[in-house]
């Protein structure tokens, strides 16, 4: 699946998008955050406070317990500050 990062999550990870293949044991958004956080220092820094990270699956907001099954694109970003 494709993963995208925005704002300070993107800066901390050091890339705006990538393709990942998490193991089948990673089933939800918060499990994916936990898995990503173990990929290295930059990821650990980006995801050090999971409760402030917002997520979207295929362009729609989702909660941390949402299933990632069938997702084409998952995005992680901080709370929004537009308008």
């Amino acid at each position: 699946m494709k993963v995208k990062y925005f704002a300070w999550v993107r800066e901390r990870v050091g890339k705006s998008e990538e393709t990942i293949e998490p193991p089948p044991s990673v089933r939800t958004v918060d499990e994916l955050i936990g898995w990503l956080a173990k990929r290295g220092e930059t990821y650990a820094h980006a995801f050090e406070t999971p409760r402030v990270i917002r997520a979207a699956i295929d362009h729609a907001h989702v909660k941390p317990d949402a299933s990632i099954a069938g997702a084409r694109e998952i995005a992680f970003f901080p709370p929004m500050t537009g308008g």
Binding site: K4, F6, A7, H61, A75, P78, M80, T81, G82, G83
Partner: protein, 155 residues
């Protein structure tokens, strides 16, 4: 009743008068247009802001605004609405966002414009970074923006 919905995300500035004219052109059923524009401030508290840079999530930003537009159309009798959100670097005094709502009567237009802005601030995937004399920093989300959006939720 037909309703015109215009949603644009762009780097360029917008002309409010031109957008209102485009929304109302050739129509005699519109009795009220409410216009809200968000403008870049030159200071935040005691800090002087040199500029804002707006980042967005292409695709989702348009989809999220369209979802809010549909909700507004279903809740109020609107003849049309326009949402334009700028991205990129924006200097103090420049426009950031425009919301126009058109209806037969003012109440629906006022309410729908406020609803759209509250939802945009809390849910549309845009992020502001401030440039000031001490460097650049991402703007923190404000809890009261979430509260403002939540008050529109039907209990």
């Amino acid at each position: 009743m037909t309703a015109d919905v215009t949603i644009r995300i762009q780097q360029a500035d917008f002309d409010i008068a031109r957008e209102i004219a485009a929304l109302t052109r050739g129509r005699t059923d519109i009795g009220a247009v409410v216009s809200f524009s968000g403008i870049c401030r030159g200071s935040e508290g005691s800090e002087t802001i040199a500029a804002l840079t707006l980042e967005h999530y292409p695709g989702m930003a348009e989809a999220e605004i369209a979802r809010h537009a549909e909700t507004a159309m279903s809740r109020w009798p609107l003849n049309g609405l326009t949402v334009i959100h700028r991205v990129g670097r924006i200097a103090p005094g420049e426009n950031i966002v425009l919301v126009l709502t058109a209806s037969q009567h003012r109440q629906a237009a006022f309410a729908a414009a406020e609803f759209l802005m509250d939802y945009l601030k809390a849910n549309a995937p845009f992020w502001k970074r401030e440039e000031s004399a001490v460097g650049t920093a991402w703007v923190d989300a404000r809890g009261h923006d979430d509260d403002a959006a939540a008050r529109w939720t039907k209990s």
